[in-house]
């Protein structure tokens, strides 16, 4: 049976077991006064209990089997290959594996394959179908056995509700833990590859080097020996663009938020807020396009018209557009923060004869300051991690400059550049992307944690 088939069967079985579980509980119940009975829980919970017995073990086995199936079968298949193939390097071995697996999938390829591989592929097909059969039988058997075990648990005294609820809770804990797994995944993937990178390039060179030209590493047979991986220009470029962006976004965003929440009439709010939201909802790739095709040329022409030489991929263009992108982010965060200041405080200030701006400047902003700082940090984190705008509008050349009119490159740009196109997983060039990813992750992590801490403390104050 196919995966889909198994899942469908299980679904049907689940519905069935709910039905009989519920029915059985009612049959076993002794009625007591006023329409009640002596069941510990409502009948439906007994239904759910049986469903759990029927489905959960079966699903677990199914998931385990499915995830182990491929690696196990593959290694088994490979072990049957002649020795000459097995002695090859890991890279070639995996290439061979892939070829055989593709053959097993595609009959047309199989027909034209070499005999050794053909045998292996057919062997694989064979094993796979056996495995599939066993899996189907095992899962269904487990499910049916589960139904019976579940039914034996249907007794008036069984705390069905408590048991069902406990299972539910475990499922929810599992889901919540995915966040940790994700972080662990990020840290591990980035750390592991970075570790390999720092095996080839010293960390100090990476962190303090002022020259970045990973391309040299591409030369064959020279894996990682002579490329320059000094990331300082990238860091400076990133900071330059982010600074430009924040210079635009923070005042505009903050003042917009203040105006919208304190001054604007309902009409203006009704139009301006959605407009801001649209600005926030525009994908970064669009901003990138806008930056590269409209803003950059415009700035260059503007610069030229007043006699400045502006690079066509100037930091200014990317920064300005990134700033525009962050305005709504900054404004909505500030808006939240300002709205969290209780109305009572405004009333208090107005009641003493303060004007609106006095109230804002002397009461609301001081009250909201921690939140605004948090918003600022989050915006900075966002600017630093922003990818598409800079990929499309900033340069590739790693100039170490703080002149906004020149082209600079950023961490994210380099990651994208290094990882798209042909890659070799062991080259320093590819691994450098992960090292950059690591530094990006660490910086944003610090910013985020600090910002979130500040914001949370602030929220608690007015909750």
């Amino acid at each position: 049976m196919s995966t889909l088939g198994i899942l469908l069967t299980l679904t049907v079985l689940a519905a069935f077991s709910y039905y009989i579980g519920r029915k059985r509980s009612l049959a076993l119940a002794t009625p007591v006064k006023r329409g009640g009975n002596d069941l510990h829980s409502l009948p439906s919970y007994y239904g759910y209990l049986v469903v759990i017995w029927a489905i959960i073990p079966a699903l677990l086995v199914f998931a385990l089997w499915s995830s182990l199936e491929k690696p196990l079968l593959t290694s088994s298949m490979m072990s049957h290959l002649p020795a000459e193939y097995q002695s090859k390097s890991a890279d070639e071995l995996s290439l061979t594996t892939n070829r055989i697996l593709n053959m097993a999938k595609d009959p047309t390829q199989l027909a034209t394959a070499e005999p050794v591989f053909k045998a292996a592929a057919e062997d694989y097909q064979q094993m796979q179908s056996t495995s599939q059969t066993i899996k189907t039988l095992l899962v269904l058997a487990l499910a049916i056995a589960g139904v019976f075990i579940g039914l034996r648990h249907v007794k008036p005294k069984t705390r069905a509700r408590n048991q069902v609820e406990r299972v539910l809770q475990f499922i929810m804990i599992g889901c919540a833990s995915i966040a940790i797994l994700t972080t662990v995944g990020i840290v591990f993937s980035v750390l592991f590859e970075s570790y390999r990178f720092f095996g080839q390039v010293p960390a100090t060179d990476f962190l303090f080097g002022t020259h970045w030209s990973p391309q040299t590493a591409l030369r064959a047979d020279q894996a990682g020996s002579s490329g320059s991986f000094g990331a300082i220009p990238l860091f400076v470029g990133t900071l330059l663009i982010s600074a430009i962006a924040l210079l635009i976004a923070v005042p505009l965003g903050l003042m917009s938020a203040i105006y919208l929440s304190e001054y604007a009439g309902p009409k203006l709010r009704a139009y301006a807020k959605p407009a801001m939201e649209i600005l926030a909802g525009i994908p970064t790739v669009v901003y990138g396009f806008f930056a590269a095709l409209t803003v950059a040329p415009f700035i260059r022409e503007l610069g030229e018209s007043i006699g400045l030489s502006v690079a066509s991929e100037s930091a200014l263009a990317a920064g300005v557009v990134m700033g525009i992108m962050i305005i709504p982010f900054m404004s909505s965060l500030s808006d939240d923060v300002i709205n969290a200041v209780p109305q009572a405080m405004r009333d208090g200030s107005y009641g003493m004869g303060a004007t609106k701006s006095e109230t804002i400047k002397q009461v609301i902003l001081p009250a909201a300051l921690p939140g605004i700082v948090g918003a600022f940090l989050l915006a900075a984190s966002r600017a630093i991690g922003e990818t598409m705008i800079v990929v499309m509008a900033a340069g590739l050349a790693a100039n170490l400059t703080i002149n906004p009119l020149e082209a600079v490159t950023t961490v994210t740009v380099q990651i994208v550049t290094l990882l798209t196109g042909d890659q070799e997983f062991d080259s320093a060039k590819t691994l450098a992307a992960f090292a950059l990813g690591l530094s990006l992750f660490i910086v944003t992590l610090i910013l985020n944690v600090v910002a979130l801490h500040i914001v949370r403390k602030y929220r608690e104050q007015y909750d």
């Binding site: 309902p266 209780p342 009333d347 208090g348 009641g351 003493m352 004869g353 303060a354 009461v363």
Partner: protein, 295 residues
């Protein structure tokens, strides 16, 4: 007055009590003008209100033709069931209703003879003269000192730091808070207890030397002990300020006010000496409310 008196006579007599049994709406028609002593001789009136109507957005009328005088150095309490308009009326007195979109006030409202709702009248100035204390204590997230200094700084009432210090201290003293906080004037005002916060808000209001203090259920968020302290404070403040207080609790009105105004469905039904209102109210609606006969 004659009509009202007759009404009182007949309804106060138990014989005719079949009439009273119908609930409060039955008396709504008897609200024609305010019973009691709504007017002062005029010479001592701080506020002079004639024919005040308040409309909310959508022409919903919240206050109908209210006439009253509010005297100097008196505590006047406004009571009545929820939605009777007492808070709305209070907020007319320093134009806090301006902050509610669509709210419109008509009629004659004068503070010391100046029209409050006049275009020429500056709400900032007005609110400096007519301070307000709110239901929920709302100290600013500043130090205790800065909370009290807020108003004087805003209005430039102190020429220098020592003058400001003086204002802050005397305001805190008047609010009965100085001794409790003198060692921590730089501590945040939000760290005080609820009752202290409310006294801080009162101190803050006093610091501007207003002539009138409006209080909108100033103790409804406080426990009985803090409430008692605030009530005591109000009684002391009476010497220097005119105080208008809206309260949920008629007992509180009884305790602290000299005159009590009873609002009902937007009408000012009775305004009388507090003693009279609570021992011998003149309008049946007042009587019903005071004695817990709500229909």
């Amino acid at each position: 007055m004659t009509e009202a008196t007759i009404d009182m006579t007949t309804t106060a007599l138990p014989k005719t009590n079949t009439v009273t049994s119908g609930g409060r709406e039955e008396f709504a028609h008897t609200i024609s003008g305010t019973i009691g002593k709504p007017y002062l001789d005029g010479k001592d009136a701080k506020f002079f209100c004639r024919g005040v109507n308040v409309f909310y957005a959508g022409e919903k009328q919240a206050i109908f033709d209210v006439n009253m005088d509010i005297g100097k150095n008196e505590v006047i309490a406004m009571i009545g069931p929820s939605g009777c308009g007492k808070s709305t009326f209070l907020r007319c007195l320093n134009r806090m209703n301006d902050t509610i979109p669509g709210c419109r006030v008509t009629g004659d409202l004068k503070l010391d003879g100046e029209d409050i709702h006049d275009r020429e009248q500056d709400p900032v100035l007005l609110r400096a003269r007519v301070g307000m204390v709110f239901q929920k204590p709302n100290p600013f997230p500043k130090s205790i000192y800065d909370n009290v200094a807020y108003g004087p700084r805003l209005h430039g009432l102190a020429a220098n730091r020592s003058e400001l210090d003086e204002i802050v201290e005397s305001s805190l003293r008047k609010a009965g808070l100085f001794n409790e906080v003198k060692d921590r004037l730089q501590a945040p005002g939000t760290g005080l207890s609820g009752g202290q916060q409310q006294r801080l808000c009162i101190a803050r209001t006093i610091a501007v030397s207003p002539e009138v203090i409006l209080m909108d259920e100033p103790t409804s968020a406080l426990d009985p002990i803090a409430t008692a302290t605030i009530e005591e404070l109000i009684d002391e403040l009476r010497a220097s300020f005119t105080i208008c207080i809206v309260t949920h609790s008629m007992q509180q009105a009884a305790r602290i006010s000299q005159r009590t105004a009873y609002f009902h469905l937007g009408y000012l039904v009775e305004l009388n000496d507090t003693k009279t209102v609570f021992t011998n109210p003149q309008h049946q609606l007042t009587e019903n409310y005071i004695t817990g006969r709500f229909g």
